[in-house]
């Protein structure tokens, strides 16, 4: 069966190490495989490694699957694993944040590999679930030992051809137009679905994409614009599959400068005052946003991580109540009885209805007296700006690439510091206790203790109102009635599980 699928964007490259981005990893994940895979519930599952264990705090041992061969029929061995991890750590690779804790990769025998980390690294298997294994022979033959080097202008066969071990082979690739996969009949495992061919087409324009589904030109497309969900659901030929996504959308506030860059308040920073942050929090009516703007396709959240991320604590996932009166009172207490003016930076083409959410937030804040100057813009200009911390109030969404809570703690909540810590903590929220906990979480191998520490860190952050979490947006996949697919909350598409 030929399965035609349309997506908002295209995988930019077929090289699984060239870009750490979910569309690309999702797509190449059908061709390549990691050592440790994920099951339908996002739990870890054997993939190219049949088992793994911690030999000592800094050494993980992986037993490799036997009788596996790449699409070009070369057998898969430990050499390939060693090569892959080297490649992923090499220049030009975008997976280096996953591999930089690795000190050494040792080939024990053809089917055993030891990975030695610099410090105890309890989540190595989680991390390695994003690193896909490539064939050393194929890469060498195609001079693709490293991901493409844009600086020297050297092209790389791996960016438009592929040779993995996965359930599908790459048949043809026309970047931005269509990419065709065919079933790998020599796959080591079982392919549950019946797709023999997958035709993948990016369609950027929402309306066109919906039209393509409605007119039956594609079997499945994603994302379904939230406002079209209801209408499509009413269409007897079409089904919309909705589910929570791992990404958490939140607002951040500049809490470190002594005077905000873009605000009417001069000489002091209102966001340093927890009452102001709380007032903002309580002024936002998430229920209205959920029903009106997201049309129900969102889960308001009180936490910075979604269910499904290791470390998620259901008890903590409670929002402060929506209460404009309280909010006004808090503002007055903080010394802003008439509110103040501040600029909100916002992307308008990155997250589901991001611009609309910001507008709604601006409207809600206006009701408690805060005047928001909304600046909504394309992600191409938005991200450079906020990443240089040239903002006072901003919106961001985050999916932990490791499916582990340490990642957001480290990237979003810890005080900015060396080696990427707090890199996306764009408002420079800072609490030393949280920083300390984050460090300990990184190397704690006892999952139970680790979980407790994560919960503690989240509680601290929640208490401080370090950020204003909004919601987890919902995935919405639209498909013809006869299509069966498994929707993963990380929005990966595994065609081996789909059928018609």
């Amino acid at each position: 069966k030929t399965f035609r699928v349309a997506d908002q964007g295209d995988a930019l490259s077929m090289d699984p190490h060239s870009l750490n981005e979910s569309v690309q990893l999702s797509f190449t994940g059908n061709v390549y495989e990691p050592l440790v895979g994920r099951d339908k519930k996002l739990g870890l599952t054997p993939a190219l490694a049949t088992s793994w264990s911690q030999v000592n705090p800094t050494t993980w041992r992986f037993e490799l699957r036997r009788n596996v061969s790449f699409h070009d029929n070369t057998p898969f061995t430990a050499d390939d694993v060693v090569f892959t991890l080297q490649r992923a750590a090499s220049e030009g690779s975008d997976m280096r944040s996953y591999t930089n804790t690795i000190k050494e990769v040792k080939r024990i025998d053809d089917h055993t590999v030891d990975v030695i980390t610099q410090t105890p690294f309890p989540i190595l298997p989680d991390v390695l679930s994003s690193v896909y294994v490539m064939s050393r022979k194929w890469c060498t033959e195609n001079s693709a030992e490293r991901p493409v080097d844009k600086r020297k202008g050297i092209e790389n066969a791996a960016s438009f051809r592929a040779n993995g071990t996965g359930p599908f082979r790459l048949k043809s690739r026309d970047p931005g137009v269509r990419t065709v996969l065919v079933r790998n009949f020599g796959y080591w495992g079982k392919i549950e679905g019946n797709f023999e061919e997958v035709v993948y087409t990016p369609i950027g324009n929402d309306a066109t994409r919906v039209a393509a589904l409605a007119s039956g030109e594609v079997d499945m497309m994603q994302p379904v614009p939230v406002q079209d969900v209801a209408r499509l659901k009413r269409n007897p030929a079409i089904e919309v599959l909705q589910g929570p996504e791992l990404r958490t959308i939140f607002l951040g506030m500049d809490q470190s400068r002594d005077e905000l860059l873009y605000s009417s308040v001069k000489g002091k920073n209102p966001f340093k005052d927890k009452r102001v942050r709380q007032a903002f929090y309580q002024a936002i009516d998430m229920e209205a946003i959920r029903t009106r703007i997201m049309r129900g396709a969102a889960t308001p959240t009180g936490l910075m991580v979604a269910p499904g991320i290791r470390g998620y604590v259901a008890e903590l996932d409670k929002r402060l109540p929506y209460d404009p009166e309280a909010s006004k009172k808090l503002l007055a207490e903080a010394g802003y009885p008439n509110g103040f003016e501040v600029k909100l930076n916002c992307p308008n083409d990155r997250y589901v209805n991001d611009g609309e959410i910001c507008q709604a937030v601006a409207g809600m804040l206006a009701r408690v007296g805060v005047k928001i100057n909304l600046e909504a813009e394309s992600k191409a200009t938005y991200f450079p700006k906020i990443l240089s911390r040239n903002t006072s109030f901003y919106m961001l969404g985050w999916t932990p690439g490791t499916y582990d809570s340490h990642n957001p703690l480290n990237a979003l909540m810890a005080t900015p510091g060396a080696s990427g810590r707090g890199q996306f903590n764009l408002g420079n929220y800072s609490n030393p206790k949280l920083d300390e906990l984050t460090d300990r979480i990184a190397s704690e191998t006892d999952q139970k203790k680790r979980g407790a520490m994560i919960a503690e860190a989240f509680r601290i952050h929640q208490d401080d109102i370090g950020h204003i979490p909004l919601h987890q947006q919902a995935l919405a996949w639209g498909m013809q009635k006869n299509v069966r697919v498994v929707q993963m909350s990380d929005n990966y598409h595994h065609y081996k599980w789909g059928g018609m």
């Binding site: 870009l19 493409v148 844009k150 600086r151 087409t201 950027g204 393509a212 191409a380 990443l387 690439g401």
Partner: protein, 327 residues
Amino acid sequence: MIAFVLRRILQAAAVMLVVAFIAFSLFQYVGDPVLAMVGQDATPEERAELRSKLGLDQPFHAQFARFVGNAVQGEFGLSYRQGRKVSTLLEERLPATLELSLAAAVLALTAGIPLGVYTALKRDGWLANLFLAVSLIGVSLPTFLIGILLILLFAVVLGWLPSYGRGDTVALGWWSTGLLTVDGWKHLLLPAFTLCLFQLTLIMRLVRSEMLEVLRTDYIRFARARGLPDRTIHFGHALRNTLVPVITIAGLQLGSIIAFSIITETVFQWPGMGLLFIQAVQSADIPIMAAYLCLIALVFVVINLAVDLLYFAVDPRLRIDRASSSH
């Protein structure tokens, strides 16, 4: 003649250089390419390192010189995002855009000129006025809206035509064409129509007003006085003279069709250069943007050259050298 062409080519080269400069320098400031190239987890050090590797920290003129040097060889480096040669990317997309633009241009000309002639000859006819009125809608509705409405009508409601993409293509060497398959033609119809509508209107109105003007000239009056048949006068004498100014505008229009295809391609997910460009703009992919701009400028320059040569064919007054005519 040779001198003329040479001069035009020299001029074109100057134009191209300026365009290259503008393209390059302007896009220095749009977005941060480094961001598009690495994932969210990269550290600042990694970003800075990448920046210097890309030469983005070099002085401006050095970067520009390098750029021009490469551009002359058709080399615009690798796409920041896709990591593939920009030249290859454009080459892949070129056929789609050209086929779409050409189809639109042909449509605009073959419909626009007769309609313009008709409306000029039947100045007070109701059908002519209807054409004029309807054509106004063509310039009063944004292209993207027309496109989307057409999709809604023909693809979703009626289900007659496909809504997106190019359909089946056949490869002729490096050129992939959709013109050899029924499916390809079906896919071409809506986007080409959307794209041509605006230009069609312009050409039709231009032809009309030029025609009206020409019909008032003395030589048309004299032709009537000689008792030539109306057909000869309208289509032999008037139309040919009308075409002289129409050629210029139509030439420029053809160029803007290619540029306007940005919108149409976005709406119809037509895999052409416009789509590539707008995606590049969204991700600040400088090499693609710069290359696209240079290519568009080149297309314009070539079209202008062709238009000038066409003048030679149409207007004999230009054929002899200037010396023998005093004006």
